[in-house]
């Protein structure tokens, strides 16, 4: 048995920030991550991190933009905290060495971002996530915090109504370890890869979120899934909003600037969800190119502008699509981008399960509500990562470590379960995953309706049955990815199921959740959070939204 006071699961921004705080407050803290921390998805974030640093900007203005962007589903008490603490957290990252881009006067530069009233997005070129992640990782090294790298957590252990530790598999030899702790901070990121097209890293499968669900913790607002309008055809790597911001046009296969039919005034620069829906509509109605895409055309901007303002986008297009945007338009399609929902947690990252915290993209605090603003999720990771670290250190002072019997029992059970996954015939992991991804993309995607969602539900139930019979053929012990994939697939199916059930129940359109059979937002019935609990089928309950100074209005831009 391995002992630590606090175990952080996840080596992305949220996890690292939580670990640093707990360490600085004197706790014995360790990090478990299925990839070496700097390989985490956080490193891929491009655009930036929001903070109202400007003298003419204010945290209240930031809070208003966030709440409005959320289509009034965000909890306003948590949004206040997010926006109030933003400047301190960003400046702290700067103090720790993050190489932010600068203004002429040497201060941190800020750029305008979608849905924001002020230019309040701080950035490090178009590699903000990379710079933040490496900076935090350097501070983790400085603290000499113990990291269990390339360990996959497979189970959270609950003892007498408290989270008492976890079981994890060392990927290097497939052996299980029992980790005993007083508190666990879950920071396992999003689940983008349950969709066929996603901007997320390949490793973002939401397995961590499913572990909390399996342990009886509620998942909140899972039906809210953000789709980005422009992702590169094929790999679905993000083509930043900046490409349109700099003057790029969207064309369908008839070379029509189709945005004029959807948003006459703002055209290509309408809010994310509107542009995503417009592109999808063009494709669905046969005006996309064969293979389902449209064009972002930058050619009229000229080589100089492209090289100066969008060098990253040019490089990505060349490397991953073999297309030079100086000469040709870029083929794009909408793709899953961010998960607003997650493990239900509060202003200090506490979940309803004592001893279990959740922060970052895996959590629903809820600061993003029905739709996240660009630049707010990187902020979310450092603000609430730190707060969870502080709260967990207080919490562990009050409790005794569990005796370990329950942990040993769970360890044995997991060993048995893993053993049982080997041998025999029975399905291929990849085919079940591909089908799930396709169903989610088609029926639980940008446009949703009762018929499609019910169909998806049936199909997912069938896939779950097939997955239960899945058997791992490869018997290697060292980095057995077939085993890892099979394990994670079960979590992916669970999340797909929960998202679909939540989307079916929510008979309105709000933020990223768009029902073609219920086109309007319905505050009378649906200004509330969805909570999904583990049962034979996911069981739904609802919770009030914390409304503060901003009363819900129509969301117009």
């Amino acid at each position: 048995m391995i002992d630590h006071d606090i175990i952080v699961i996840g080596g992305g921004l949220a996890g690292l920030r939580a670990a640093i705080e707990a360490y600085q407050l004197g706790a014995d803290v360790a990090i478990i991550s299925k990839v070496y921390p700097i390989r985490s998805h956080s490193g891929a974030a491009q655009g930036g991190i929001n903070a109202s640093l400007g003298f003419d900007d204010s945290w209240e203005a930031h809070a208003f933009d966030t709440v409005k962007g959320s289509d009034y589903l965000a909890d306003q008490d948590t949004v206040d905290v997010l926006c109030k603490e933003a400047s301190e957290r960003v400046i702290e990252m700067e103090n720790w060495g993050c190489n932010f881009s600068r203004q002429e006067n040497g201060k941190i530069a800020q750029r305008p971002f979608g849905g924001a009233g002020f230019p309040r997005t701080c950035f490090a070129g178009d590699r903000t996530g990379h710079n933040l992640l490496h900076t935090l990782y350097e501070q983790v090294l400085k603290c000499n915090i113990k990291i269990y790298s390339e360990w996959l957590v497979t189970k959270l252990v609950i003892d007498k109504g408290r989270c008492a530790g976890c079981i994890a598999m060392n990927m290097a030899d497939s052996k299980l370890g029992a980790f005993r702790s007083k508190a666990i901070i879950l920071a396992t990121g999003g689940y983008g890869r349950i969709y066929q097209r996603s901007t997320n890293a390949m490793i973002n499968r939401g397995f961590g979120i499913s572990l909390a669900y399996m342990a009886g913790v509620a998942l909140e607002d899972m039906e809210f899934v953000q789709f980005h309008p422009t992702t590169l055809l094929g790999t679905n790597i993000l083509i930043t909003e900046g490409a349109r911001g700099e003057g790029g046009y969207l064309f369908n296969k008839d070379h029509e600037r189709f945005m004029s039919n959807y948003a006459k005034d703002s055209m290509e620069l309408a809010p994310r969800d509107i542009v995503a829906r417009s592109i999808q509509k063009e494709i669905d109605e046969g005006r996309g190119f064969p293979g389902g895409y449209v064009h972002v055309d930058l050619t009229h901007l000229g080589k100089d502008v492209i090289n100066e303002r969008l060098p990253g986008i040019r490089q990505i297009s060349i490397d991953f699509a073999g297309i030079d945007p100086v000469k040709e338009p870029i083929p794009v399609q909408p793709g899953q981008h961010y998960s607003m929902g997650g493990v239900s947690s509060d202003i200090n990252g506490r979940t309803p399960m004592p001893g279990l915290y959740a922060v970052g993209e895996c959590a629903c605090i809820s600061v993003h509500g029905a739709n996240r603003l660009g630049g707010n999720s990187l902020l979310d990771t450092v603000v609430f990562g730190r707060r969870a670290g502080i709260d967990a250190v207080d919490y562990i002072k009050l409790i005794q470590k569990a005796d370990g019997d329950k942990l040993i029992e769970a360890f044995r059970q997991e060993e048995g379960r893993l053993q049982g996954m080997f041998g025999g015939e029975g399905g291929n992991f990849a085919s079940i995953r591909d089908e799930l991804q396709q169903i989610m993309q088609e029926h639980v995607g940008i446009f949703r309706n009762r018929k499609g969602l019910e169909h998806a539900l049936d199909e997912i139930r069938k896939l779950k049955k097939r997955a239960a019979k899945l058997r791992v053929q490869s018997k290697v012990k060292v980095f057995n990815f077939e085993l890892i994939n099979a394990l994670e697939l079960q979590g992916m199916l669970e999340l797909g199921h929960i998202i679909t059930i939540g989307a079916l129940a929510r008979e309105e359109s709000r933020g990223a959740h768009y029902r073609t059979d219920y086109l309007e937002r319905d505050d009378g019935h649906w200004l509330k959070h969805t909570l999904a609990y583990k049962d034979v089928e996911p069981r739904l309950e609802y919770k009030e939204v914390n409304i503060g100074r901003f009363t819900p209005q129509r969301r117009e831009y």
Binding site: A201, V478, F479
Partner: protein, 253 residues
């Protein structure tokens, strides 16, 4: 169809194995590896995460060049000619080669111990980087006041903070091949990044500078720019090394 010939290893057993891959437009070598892992041989292992050339997980040797597999288009390497002398030795090892198909050679990153198949022991590389204590020391409370940094300095530092620690440089470095105590291009580039940074304390810069003034440090480099040539992020470690050599010389003058 494209053939991938992969150097496999399990324990001490090493073999070359050829797989047929159904090529799709725009396919990368990483995607080809997934196709093999998912459809043909579940035991094949390799590291990955972002698939977008930002996380640094997937460095390997493709046609004898250290590259990121996710950034390498199959179409660009399938008809590439590998140096004849090097190719010979491989061809002998797998006789089933079908001459009519295009072939890509995939091997683990050199200069690091192979754990299995394409996964190498990165801990050695990380230990070298971490040994320079790559961080900013701040003793005071953080979060209150930002440092003022000239935009031109930010751009200079950026050249080095762009490093994703993928270790392709290490895999192409003749000095690292010779001497496993040599800090290597990535660690040395990082030293220079901290020397440049106005947020570094004077005493840390002095410590770093004297630490690398050794044959495991800047004097171990062959100055052949092999690291610069393969860096997927255009980081120039050799430039950093030469600057630091100059600095130590001028100090002792």
């Amino acid at each position: 169809m494209v053939q991938l010939t992969i150097r496999r290893q399990d324990g001490n057993t090493i073999w070359y194995e050829t797989f047929d891959v159904e090529e799709k437009p725009g396919m990368t070598v990483l995607e080809a590896l997934f196709q093999i892992q998912e459809k043909q041989d579940g035991s094949l292992c390799f590291r990955y995460s972002c698939r977008g050339a930002v996380c640094g997980s997937c460095a390997m040797l493709i046609n004898r060049k250290p590259v990121l597999a996710c950034r390498t288009q199959l179409s660009a390497v399938k008809s590439e000619v590998i140096l004849e002398s090097e190719k010979e030795e491989i061809l002998l090892k797998h006789s089933s080669k079908d001459e009519s198909k295009e072939d890509v050679l995939v091997e683990p990153l050199p200069n690091l111990r192979v754990i299995r198949d394409l996964i190498v022991d990165m801990d050695h590389f990380y230990r070298l980087v971490n040994s320079i204590e790559p961080w900013i020391h701040v003793s005071e409370k953080t979060g209150y006041e930002e440092n003022i940094i000239e935009p031109s300095m930010q751009i200079q530092i950026e050249k080095y903070t762009n490093c994703i620690l993928c270790a392709t440089c290490h895999g192409n470095c003749p000095a690292a091949a010779r001497d496993d105590k040599y800090l290597g291009p990535a660690a040395l580039a990082k030293v220079w990044r901290f020397c440049l940074d106005p947020r570094s304390r004077r005493e840390d810069v002095d410590k770093l500078t004297s630490q690398v003034n050794s044959k495991e440090g800047v004097w171990g480099c062959d100055v052949v720019y092999k690291c610069v040539a393969v860096c997927p992020k255009k980081v120039p470690p050799t430039t950093a090394i030469l600057k630091m050599r100059e600095n130590t010389k001028s100090k002792s003058d």
